[in-house]
Amino acid sequence: MSRVVTLKINDQDVSGREDETILELARENGIFVPTLCHLEGLSDIGACRLCLIEIKGVPKLMPACVVRAQEGMEVYTESERLKKYRRMVIELLFVEGNHVCSVCVSNGHCELQYLAQKLGVDHIRLEYRSPKREVDASHERFVLDHNRCILCTRCVRVCGEVEGAHTWDLLGRGIQSRVITDLNQPWGDAESCTSCGKCVQVCPTGALTAKGKAVGEMTKHQGFLTTLALMRENDR
């Protein structure tokens, strides 16, 4: 049984269990914290850095998705410094790949596009890298477009943790990183893939989509994840 702790978020008193993260507590209390790699029902990895928060007495910014609540903590989720860094994260994601919203199947349903608008990113100050990236359409029902991938690894986690197939993984380091299926084979040849489509549904952008969709037609449904997580908890 975990203890109940009391702490402050943006000078507002909140209480929660000590095994809860600041992100969970913030959202329970209706406080907006942007995220991209986090998804309820999957493990947290603190990779996208959008949920960075300030904690009184801690000089570094911390990702809210992996910091646990502590008694007496004083947390701030909004400051000019945080806004600056969040905008920069979004801009870096936009220049790293090839994100052209107007011709994307996920236009209007994309979490990157939504957050750019929400965080006030109306132009990108950095030079676009315009990398040459591939599209894998070898799977009979789904498409992987590396141009639109932000390496959040939701696909890797949902496949390993929920479906139990572990078809997805990461290859390479730094700017060379990309998601792969099985032993870096075309997705259509990946024998471990069960074609369940969970990866497609959790992908925040148009990197993983169903075939046969035109611009703006790809809507995603992530509700299954919380339902599955709840069912498993009840089975325990």
Binding site: S102, H123, I124
Partner: protein
């Protein structure tokens, strides 16, 4: 009352932003009383005039001509607005940036079966190696993303500017809108 000198420019874009501008419909009449349209694809004037108050730029900077034009426009404009995703991000024209200009020219001029296939080397402006958003070439004052930005968004921007205010586009438009 002196009218605001407005210009609209069409660089590498599809003219969709200009179409959206025209979609303001009857409000154009209200605007018309307050502005003087000094340069535009809708006006027959060849050279960009001096001392323009507001210029709306549609399209990315893709050719040597675009580059020359936008520099002159910047010099002669007080408030320069990047209108639409091509001007703001490079958008569709910039899709060629990962493969370069050569393959695009070959595809357009050499691949189709023509009587005398050749890549034009005169009259048509030479393509730049990279398609660039306007602000990577000259200073931009206001960004209006969208593909295209809605008529209401464009009307809002112009109405605010004519009233002497800086438009706050937060939440009103987005990339790909």
């Amino acid at each position: 009352m002196t009218r605001t000198r407005l210009a609209t420019v069409w660089l590498d874009g599809c003219s969709g932003c200009h179409m959206s501008f025209l979609d303001i419909d009857e409000q154009l009449l209200v605007l018309a009383d307050q502005i003087e349209l000094v340069y535009s694809p809708l006006v027959d004037r060849k050279d960009f005039p001096e001392d323009v108050d507001v210029t709306l730029i549609e399209g990315a900077v893709s050719s040597e001509e675009d580059l020359e034009k936008i520099r002159r426009i910047r010099e002669r404009t007080h408030i320069l607005i990047s209108l639409g995703d091509c001007a703001v991000t490079g958008n569709v024209p910039s899709l060629r940036n990962s493969i370069g200009a050569e393959p695009v020219l070959r595809r357009a001029y050499l691949d189709p079966t023509l009587l005398n296939p050749q890549i034009p080397n005169q009259v048509i402006p030479r393509l730049l190696p990279l398609v660039r958003p306007v602000h990577s070439v000259v200073k931009v004052d206001i960004y209006v993303p969208g593909c295209p930005p809605s008529a209401n968004t464009i009307l809002y921007v112009l109405t605010e500017l004519l009233a002497g205010r800086t438009p706050d586009l937060n939440g009103k438009t987005r990339f790909g809108a």
